[in-house]
Amino acid sequence: MNDNCNHCAGLDRSRLLHKAIAEAGKGLPAIEPGMPTPAGTGLSRRRFIAHGLGAALAVYGATRLDFRAFHEGIAEAATAPPQQVLVSIFLEGGADALSVLSPQGDPLYRKYRTSLALAGGTPLAEDTRLYWHPALGGLQQLYGEKKVTVMPAIGYTHADQSHFTSRHYWEVGATDTRLNTGWLGRYLDVVGTASNPLQGLSLDDTLAPSLATGKVPVAAITAPDQYDFWSNRVWGEVQDRMLETFGLFGRQPADPALRTAGGVAVQVDKLRNQLLPFQGQDGKPGYTSPVTYPTSDDDFPKKLAGLAAMLGAGLPLRAVAMSAPGEYDTHSDQPGALASGLQLTSDSLLAFQRDLEARGLANRVLVHVWSEFGRRAEQNGSNGTDHGAAGVGFLVGSRVKGQMVGEFPGLQSGLDDDGNVVATADFRGVYSSLLEQWLGVDAGKVIPGASSFQRTQLVA
């Protein structure tokens, strides 16, 4: 990480925090992420919903929704016809588009990337100047099956080079720093219901800003087998008795703060009991997948496996957001870090697609992979790259058209005054097209100034 990047320092710390939690978690017993499904567990769907999911949810924007309404909302929504699902996957840090799809056919590429230039591999059928990064075999395979749409220079004009600002623009679907609902959140405000928090599901530690709604509830899920409690030097039946006591804290006098604290303790008690069946055993999740996902210390493949299983169980999801594994803010020593993140992301997405196909769900799910910006054409002095403008994105799924959106503008005439690749497609146009063609709503209700952005046929 280069030290001339003020904003990256914060990015780094935010990651370290997550890492600190994860490492601290290593000291705790039996932490094995994964989401339950009826498959292989012998549970009926009703019990699955009651025991597995509702309980594991942190519900946002639904303070007046009590537990019963919540379960009923899910049950009700689950009986509705299946919805199209959009899965948003974020490459955090600004992925280097010129390595993801290296322009080996551009005469200036090796001049700008003196030590970082990639060589060999497979060119894209649609633009033979561009070569797939060697770690992206999974996406390349799906591209060959017409299941990947490539966006080689996606972004917006006058790209902001702050991680936070640019990411915010992508999350809210507008270049507006004050907008505080996400573009998927506003979509859910149009089509969603007040009783189904699962309609917008964040699969990260915190609620993804793109899912922030103005009206309807959305949820963040943690793996149910991570909801454990224990105490030092208390075990066996004494520990069981101890944990049973949470539920008794609910009997409190009229004081509102005491009642809140007691009430949450009772919720914790319910939740803990509901999740007991899903406490992982021997590191195995409480569901089975029809395909094999990559093995990794990172939870990403497990989250996708769990997501496919949840969709297989008929849960009423509409928009899902999660972060991809890997380190994309590659100011220094770029090659290794970039390759490992891309490899796991791509391999996992291939497995996810095959999983959906095996479950007969592939026509209902579309994956959008994005990053807040690309990186400078000319590499820096630390064998890395600094913040740029246009980035790279993909749409993955059986229903995508598989036709390039925008084009690679070339390094001769396609750079701005700062030496950054200019955008040839606007992310708000892609959002508008997805809303209209995939999610079936008027983009004008979701994206500010939607009519001014060019639409592309994205769905076959």
Binding site: R233, Q239, T245, V264
Partner: protein, 446 residues
Amino acid sequence: MPSVAAYRGRFGPAQAERLLWRAGFGPRRNEAQKLAQLGLADAVHSLVYPGREHFVGPQPHDEKGRPLAPYDAWGHDHLWWLDRMIRTSRPLVERMTLVWHDWFATSNQGVGSQRLMIGQNNLFRAHGLGSFHELLNRVTEDPAMLVWLNGSDNSKYSPNENYGREMMELFTLGAGRGYTETDVRQNARALTGFRNDWKRNVGLTNFRYDPKYHDTGTKTIFRKRGAFTWKDSCRLCVTHPDHPSFFVAKLWSYFVPTAPDAHTAAALQQLYVKSGYEIRPVLAAILRHPALYTGPRMVKSPVLYTAGLLRRLGRPIDTSAWTWLDSMAGQQLFYPPNVAGWDDTRWLDTARWRGRWWIAQYALNPYALDPGKAKQPYDAKKLIHDAVGFWRNPALGPGTTVALQAFARNVVADARKDKWKQQQYPPMAQNALRHLIAVSPEFQTA
């Protein structure tokens, strides 16, 4: 001038304890008893005029015994401040520092320098009980704030409204109260002129006011015209007729969970204006107000909860775990969630309660009894008595007491048939009871 009501009931250890929670981080051993002996007026006086600071107890260190590196090591900023909360002789100064950290919420997520963040923190500490006008002046030219809300990006060549807007919306007037979008834009012009440099291996540096970048033209703010500068901006906001009501309502909300009645609010506003926008007299009046002693309890924030446990235990900072534990519970110092600060109505949910469970577990770690060796009475009542005594006899309501009794009786019954259980279960039960008390509704609130 209307007067502010003062509490006239009994001021015993229970009332003193509540004051110590609201105006500080909870009592140390015997502290509530000592404070109660002063009586209400002197007790409040001792908090708002605490004298020179000294620290009580051992120096903080990490788990390997190394001193904290608050400017450099990740998470040590949090530990550094938590240590002050635990050991300071001026708890209200630290508490007000926390209030201002929330009021002028600045996150290191955007600043990227623990040194600048701690610099701002020390500003809050030095000026937190003085003049609000002076505090606002200093915050406006504070480097961390200049970075956080783009004050040093705001020049006559390219105005940036970020600070100019939040100054009105979040810091002095409240959203949509007494200002227009034109006022925001004009205020941004008045605030131009701050600059800073960036240097390799140093980072952000040389924060300064450079008149070349200041827009010297005439501005119209709140219908007043002038060639205003940043100091005029601060003055215009503080002397705005809608500022005292905003100030009083916001300050009050940190100490009392129910809004003040109209008479109290008006009296506090008058007190504030007559004093020349001084914080201390308003604060002292709030701390003496009957609503603080007779009103409902407040949910502790995660940091207050952690500092309170450690003060009660007399345990110094000896592990860096508190940073991620408090984050898990929803409050990492120097990282408020956004410009509006933390949401005090959302400290507890199922995930955050679990964070507090681990905070309590870590707090109790060094005190855990070894079930194979420790001797504890095989008697439910005595076990509870000892556990409550471990925490220096806090007042527990009937709901919590019944829960503890049910647990202790069940464990004693479970052990009935086995001799070894009668030896090992009581120490385990003692560990469990201490932990259960630490997460009880009484300990989550004050």
